[in-house]
């Protein structure tokens, strides 16, 4: 999905300096954000970072303490949830337990005052789209988790909203079903052309679903970008650490040129050479972040004296498709390295207590100043 280009010509949701306080607690802190038509925008963050509060403000269940929310150019202040062109899929699904699947899906249409025939037609179509046609007469407690999730989705989508809010849409599903459902969600979104705003704490979910991700921390949006941007070019220590795993080394700038920088790290013998310039004051304290899969590991010493380290393998975790190695450097620092298991036979693989050389390309490290 990350390759998909975003049409920035049509701004659909506009959040302007929105703050939400609950007593002394600032849940959402001066957030400004634009979400474009047809995108899947993920709000990603740990629990209590304010992502759900932001979503609930869009749905109309909370109102901002200050700031403005605009949907399709219209200010949402004072507009109750039942008058917004927005539907939400709840984390608990919130299916009405006393109604059948059919009735659950029809509920929203009945509120619009459509004719019985029209309602029946649209409910039938929607249930076919989510492949629940055979379950129309069942009650929610007679369905499995995945089926309930699809009913919740159908119930929200049948209203043909322009904006669908999804609160941890896959949270209650097991791993296999999640992966399957993720792709189903993306297909549906493309098919119906709805704008999705998804809240999740699961970075994998955000990475596969989103056209863009907004990473939140302590009520603020710390970075907005495509999944690739967020992963490869994190703008802060928080984002680098939160998304995926990373080896972070603290150090000092020793050479700062427009085309490259050299950094001396306390825990690395060799200097780190980075093949792009950064904007930081000279002698500034910086962090170097290197992703585990961007480190090469071999038994022989690499050429050159920079961007390398030597250590002993202390832990190996075999994950099937790849293996995670924890290597202890001479400074005592543990470094995480992932190597894809290209070979089926394990004879050639590096084993415990072996001395190894680590190296990486000059383009791989990310230099972070905040």
């Amino acid at each position: 999905m990350s390759q998909k280009t975003i049409d920035r010509s049509h701004e659909y949701v506009r959040i302007e300096g929105v703050t939400k306080r609950f007593g002394d607690f600032v849940a959402v802190d001066n957030v400004s954000l634009s979400i474009f038509k047809g995108e899947i925008f993920c709000l990603l963050g740990g629990s209590g970072c304010g992502k759900t509060t932001l979503l609930r403000m869009l749905a109309g269940f909370e109102s901002p303490t200050s700031g403005r929310l605009l949907i399709d150019g219209q200010d949402m202040a004072g507009i109750p949830p039942y008058d917004r062109p927005v539907n939400m899929m709840f984390q608990s699904y919130a299916l009405f337990p006393h109604m059948t699947v059919e009735k659950n899906v029809a509920f929203g249409l009945e509120q619009e005052g459509l004719s019985k025939a029209e309602i029946a037609k649209r409910v039938g179509e929607m249930l076919d789209i989510v492949r629940l046609g055979d379950f129309a007469r069942r009650k929610p407690h007679q369905l499995s988790g995945g089926q309930r999730q699809r009913v919740a989705l159908a119930r929200a989508l049948v209203k043909r909203p322009k904006l669908l809010l999804l609160d941890e849409p896959l949270g209650a599903l097991d791993k296999k079903l999640r992966e399957h459902t993720q792709f189903e969600l993306i297909n549906l979104q493309e098919q119906l052309g709805v704008t999705f705003v998804v809240v999740t704490h699961d970075q994998e979910e955000a990475m596969t679903l989103a056209t863009r991700i907004g990473v939140m921390n302590k009520g603020q949006i710390v970075q907005v970008g495509t999944p690739t941007d967020i992963y490869e070019f994190p703008n802060s220590r928080f984002v680098a650490d939160f998304i995926g795993s990373v080896n972070m080394f603290d150090g000092q700038l020793v050479e700062d040129e427009p085309g490259h920088v050299r950094i001396r790290c306390n825990e690395l013998e060799a200097t780190v050479f980075v093949s792009h310039g950064i904007s930081a004051p000279p002698e500034a304290k910086v962090s170097v972040a290197i992703r585990p899969e961007k480190i090469e590991m071999s038994r022989s010493a690499p050429v050159g004296t920079e961007n390398c380290a030597k250590g002993v393998v202390k832990e190996i975790a075999y994950m099937g498709d790849l293996s995670v190695y924890l290597v202890r450097l001479e400074s005592g620092r543990m470094v995480r390295v992932t190597i894809p298991n290209v070979e089926r036979h394990a004879d050639e693989r590096i084993v415990w207590e072996e001395t190894v050389h680590l190296s990486w390309r000059p383009s791989s490290p990310v230099v972070l100043t905040i």
């Binding site: 109309g60 939400m88 006393h98 407690h141 007679q142």
Partner: protein, 281 residues
């Protein structure tokens, strides 16, 4: 193992005996032919004599009818008011005065009935002097007095039922375009029906067997059944009271057995359906 089983069953038996021997003995004595309550007339018993006499006793039957009417009105009124109070306490968030309202609605649960009775009587008397309503004391005043304390029980039942289900259900309904009133009647109300039914039955029972408060706020010609029984017993226990009590116990027992069977049936159906859902993925 065997010893422990013996001990357990023995204790169970003792417990049940403690609870039910008084009632059983009363039932047995209702078939006693003797006019003296404590003397068993072995020759002519058992007899249905007291049951026949009971049916001829218009005063008792009239009191029973009054009691039924008051209990039904009380239960209905208490369910309406208690539902509103329970809804406000469970769903309206931390508004100003919430703790006060919560304490005040549940206070009648612990208030001595004598106090409630006197307070009610004073209220009705001064109201009548001030605005001329309620005129005198009778079924209306008894019903109002009963509602005030029965409502507290309904509030607690409804509130705990509401606390037990996800408020995302109501939010989902709002989100789907339903106005708050529609949400209440189509989502909230159907979900709390079990609480309303048990609240209604509870209020009915509370009103049905109240003597103390009724005593204070009743007027001429509005004696409830418990009041009637109480005044007869004070003149000396007559065997037809035993017969009446036996009938009441049987009615209550039948109700309890039926509702238990119904709940068991529902539970079984639910389990079966859940199993079906799991196997039918």
């Amino acid at each position: 193992m065997n010893n422990r089983g013996w001990f357990r069953n023995g204790m169970l038996g003792l417990g049940l005996a403690f609870l039910y021997i008084p009632i059983l003995s009363m039932m047995v004595f209702s078939f006693n032919n003797s006019r003296l309550v404590t003397v068993w007339d072995a020759e002519n018993s058992p007899t249905l004599r007291w049951y026949v006499r009971l049916l001829e006793n218009d005063q008792l039957l009239g009191a029973a009818w009054i009691s039924v009417q008051i209990a039904a009105m009380t239960a209905t009124g208490a369910v309406i008011l208690g539902t509103i109070a329970g809804l406000v306490l469970a769903r309206f968030g931390p508004f100003r005065g919430r703790a006060f309202l919560s304490a005040m609605t549940t206070a009648p649960l612990v208030m001595p009935e004598v106090i409630t009775g006197i307070a009610m009587l004073l209220l009705f008397v001064s109201l009548e002097q001030l605005i001329g309503w309620p005129e005198g004391r009778g079924m209306l005043t008894i019903t109002i007095a009963h509602i005030t304390f029965a409502m507290a029980y309904v509030t607690v039942v409804v509130q705990s039922r509401l606390a037990g289900f996800d408020d995302a259900l109501e939010e989902a309904a709002l989100d789907l375009g339903a106005k708050p009133a529609t949400v209440f009647f189509r989502i909230t109300l159907p979900l709390i029906v079990p609480a309303l039914v048990s609240g209604w039955l509870l209020a009915f029972t509370l009103s049905w067997d109240d003597v103390v408060i009724s005593q204070f706020v009743s007027g001429p010609g509005s004696s409830t059944l418990p009041m009637e029984i109480f005044s007869r017993v004070r003149r000396g226990v007559s065997p037809d009271i035993n017969a009446l009590a036996t009938i009441l116990v049987l009615i209550v027992a039948t109700g309890v057995v039926l509702s238990t069977l119904y709940m068991k049936h529902e539970e079984k159906r639910r389990l079966r359906e859940e199993q079906m859902a799991r196997s039918g993925n």
